[in-house]
């Protein structure tokens, strides 16, 4: 092949490539074409190996012709590549413009715990941080632990206050979480720090603010030098923690057979901020924490020496606390099984467009 023929051949190859380019639809195909033409074994690329067939004097010229051709083809390919990439970018931009980034996320129903459980867990975490252990007791309780061990003999007027569900087997549905006090003392001895959350039952007519089934958490702390100021300090800490804000407390005498002295700790009403409203019966205070120093007879029932040890106990109405925290006005919804008033709507429903 002389130089002239070579020139012709190159021109043919170039023309064929240029003719093909418009029909190359994407960058991958373009790369394939490039390889077919400019690759080592490509139409143009392979020509360079023919250089040694020419006389040495012509070789320089041959090389130049081939390289020039390669350069032109490369430029044509690059031009096509730029056009293809621009088209892809345009398509991408068009797709992006059509996309609605404001569409809501996909919502799957979430699980939830009962509001009382949520408050209970919060209190448990607080007391665990204070070194208390969490105890449990049976809901079907022996008369002894529910009454006698708590210094409430059969003839005591306090049994009036405890309208009790009696079972035909002579046991009771516990009227309070206090039976766990004596059970825990017998199990661990003193010193002792426990709380005991759980369900309690009282024979009571149900209305918007009274339930026969409710939750309490019992607290009991026994050590060598436990005082009333200790009790008040801990109660105050507890109420602050549950309400997640600072609260005021008022301490006054109260009467419960299993404590002596007996106290009532009131919290400033969280609904009217102490100004007086129907919830606090205009007093500005809400009774939240019946408590006191453990009665010596109760310590003795738990086989703890009242001379060496003293302690305090309290009973916190978890149900009422949960109602205050979550703004539940009617106690009956808590045991109704209806999920609506006890589960945040967003946990169960799809995207909400508007809500009042």
């Amino acid at each position: 092949m002389d130089i002239e023929q070579l020139g012709q051949r190159i021109a043919e190859i170039e023309a064929a490539v240029v003719a093909r380019l418009p029909s190359v639809a994407n960058v991958d195909d373009l790369r394939r074409v490039e390889n077919e033409v400019l690759g080592k074994e490509g139409a143009l690329g392979a020509l360079i190996t023919t250089i040694k067939e020419y006389p040495p004097a012509q070789r320089g010229q041959v090389g130049q012709v081939i390289n020039a051709a390669k350069g032109r083809v490369k430029a044509a390919l690059d031009g096509r590549r730029a056009a293809l990439e621009a088209a892809v970018a345009d398509a991408e931009a068009a797709a992006a413009a059509a996309f609605d980034p404001t569409l809501p996320g996909y919502v799957e129903p979430m699980g939830s715990v009962h509001p009382v459980t949520a408050v209970q867990w919060r209190i448990e975490r607080l007391f665990e941080r204070l070194g208390f252990t969490v105890e449990a007791g049976p809901e079907m309780e022996e008369e002894y632990y529910n009454f006698e061990a708590l210094n409430i003999p059969a003839t005591h007027p306090a049994r009036d206050m405890q309208d009790t569900f009696w079972l035909t087997n002579r046991k009771v549905l516990r009227t309070q979480t206090s039976p766990v006090q004596v059970r825990a003392m017998l199990k661990y001895g003193a010193p002792l720090r426990i709380i005991a959350p759980g369900r309690c039952f009282r024979y009571e007519t149900i209305d918007a603010s009274h339930e026969n089934t409710f939750h309490q958490v019992e607290g009991l702390m026994i050590d060598r030098e436990i005082s009333i100021p200790n009790l008040i300090a801990l109660a105050h800490t507890l109420l602050r923690e549950v309400m997640e804000r600072d609260v005021k407390v008022r301490v006054r005498p109260g009467f419960f057979p299993f404590v002596e002295p007996g106290l009532e700790i009131d919290m400033n009403c969280q609904i009217c901020a102490g100004k007086g409203c129907p919830t606090c019966k205009q007093s500005g205070w809400i009774e939240v924490l019946p408590c006191g120093m453990v009665h010596p007879n109760v310590l003795l029932a738990g086989k703890v020496d009242p001379h060496e040890f003293s302690g305090f106990a309290f009973g916190l109405g978890l149900t009422r606390l949960a109602m205050m925290k979550y703004g539940i006005g009617d106690i009956r919804v808590l045991n109704s099984g209806d999920l609506r008033p006890i589960v945040a709507a967003r946990r169960l429903e799809g995207p909400v467009v508007a809500a009042v």
Binding site: G111, M161, M221, S227
Partner: protein, 800 residues
Amino acid sequence: MLISLNWLRDSVDVPAEVDPHELAERFTCTAAEVEDVHRIEVGARGLIAARVEAVSDLPATRNLRLARLDVGDGRVIETVTAAPVLRVGWNVVYAPAGAAVAKLGTIGQAKVAGRASVGMILSGDALGVEMAVGEALFAEPALAPGTPLPPEWFDDWVIEIDNKSITHRPDLWGHRGIAREVAAMYGLPLKPYPVVAVEELAGIDAPPIPLEIQDPQAARRYSGLRLGGVPTQPAPLWLQLRLGRVGMRPISALVDLTNYIMADLGQPMHAFDGSRVERIEVGWAAEGEVFRTLDGVERTLPPQTLMIQSQGRSIALAGIMGGLETEVSEATTSLLLESANFDAATIRRSAIALGLRTDASARFEKSLDPVNTVLSIQRFVALARECYPDLKLTSPLSDCFPNPFPPVTVKVNRRHVTRTVGREVPDDEVRQILGPLGFDVTAGRRDLSVSVPSFRATGDVDIEADVIEEIARYCGYNRIPEVLPQVTVRRFEPCARLEVERRTLAYFSGAARFSELHQYLWYDSAWLTTLGFEPGACVELANPAATGLHRLRQTLLPGLLAALVRNRFHYEACALLEVGSVFERAEPDDAEFRHVGLVCARRQKGGENELYHRLKTALEGWGWECFGRAVSFGPAAVDTARPWEHPQRTAEVQLEGRGIGRLSAVPLELKRRMEEHLTAWAIAWAEVRLTGLEKLSPRTEALGRIPPHPLVELDFSVLVRREVRYAEVADRLREFTHPLLRRVAYVGSYEGPALPQQQRSLTFRVVVGDETRTLVEEDTAAFRATFEQHLASCGYWTRR
């Protein structure tokens, strides 16, 4: 209980500048809870006493009458009145023209029913005695017509004390006891109690009343006195007004006087018609005895009812209510006054059994001070003489007190005081606190010896802690600085039961996305009938909240299904969760167990399979999460008594090879019974007994590791007849062993047009590898051949 501030001032000079609200707040924080404080503002101006001279009907009207009143200074006026009862010769409260009360404004002259009416006879409600609406109040005869009635008799403050906060304080059931606390709170002296000396009462020269107490355990003390020259005129107006302030309706002189003493000292008294009672015996009612109380009701007496009797016939229900037969009336000229002390439990039991709670029984239930039987008579005579100078004592004070109460003295260890109050309380301060409350303190070397006054010694204060309470409350609970306790650190074993419950709740409400709810502890019989469930022997309530709620639940399912019905219109799907107690009859003791119940439901016909698997997945996750163990599922014989168990879809939930619960789907038949709408729903459920699982210590799962050489995954689809169970295939695959085999995992199952009829394809992913080298083509080819050979030997086709 209602307390009048005017009345309190008889015993303690509360300074005029003390705000009654402040007093109430202090009382609440020191003694007992005040529920309400309110002002009685009668706004009386220019009221006088007037005597009724004549009363005539006004024919044209239905209930109006014309009264002629002597208004003093010889003046007589006529006024029209609606008061239903007016007695000629009695005094009324009269507002002349120009006088005023807040409720009615200024009273003038008017023409009523054609008659000129001057001024007005005031009714109880206009004077702040709310129980006497429209009824005239009568004033005592000692007030001459025209006597101005001082405005300060009418205006008052009423303090309402929460009865529940004084159940342990019999002394606080009267004004005198409240006054003692108020005096101590303000450091004021308690004024002497105006009484007639016992010596004078005992010295009357007349035969005593024969008194006999059958059972001194039940009737501790009985004191009595006979009186003659009994007034027929009303009690003093000021006294009636005070009764009105504390919620008692003025009735007649004698009743008002005894009520006044009860509200003053807390000691109930009873007045018998003296002519009908010869002697007093306190004894038990006869079996089946019927007795007519003074409210006119015939009552059959329950056993162990304590009665006041006279010559064997019952005349009063002891401590509760008098009898009709011996009631005082207008004809009564002589009285037998009773003031007694009864055993609290005896009176309480009878009052409850009779369904008759009275002001008297409410007080006797608190264990009253036996000293007050005599003190109340002393006070009664002093008060009655003041009002009725003609009164005569016709018997000496007669008193039967078989077993006088020994004085109570309590040793108080100073260290215990310091420990409870949180600071040292010097002896002098203790004396300053306890003295005004009636306690005597003698200081010993280590202990204080504290003698308890009789009015605190009937069960209220009898141990050291009771005395420390008195000291602590007067040190001021709100004045002690808060101090967090110093503690002994101890390690406690966590409560295993709660640990399991907490992890269970956290898992199901979190990762598994169930909503927790609470249900009642008892079955609702009506719902069980709907479900067609007969629970058999249950632990039962003796006093259920309502009929049909007497059986305690043995399973959480009926409650969860009821909750599902309640939620069906509000959600397209729901997943319900409850952790709670269930109960079983057992010997020797009935048992309580903790269960977790789960219901998964969706509005989708035929979705059971998917829900069943969702629940199964959740239970498997729970097993790993809570115990680090695999939950497995075994075949279960369907319990036909439990209609929520599906005949084909029921499995036993197992942990460590032991059955711990059930997994199933609700059959169509039950959905139909529950609620027609639920037939369009798929419902799967599971219930697991948590009790017993607390013994499983949570196992720590080994973590994954990166193998030194790459693993190769090979998928095999096994073609089996449709009725061949996965478990059977998996068992056969488990039999296969090979040195390169690392793991066999289930990928999925397929049935459909690509397969021959009645066939199912189960796909497994087999992972192979070697610890020492990278596998080559030949290794995997050889493994594949061996594995397929095993499948063939099991009779399974391999689908390519």
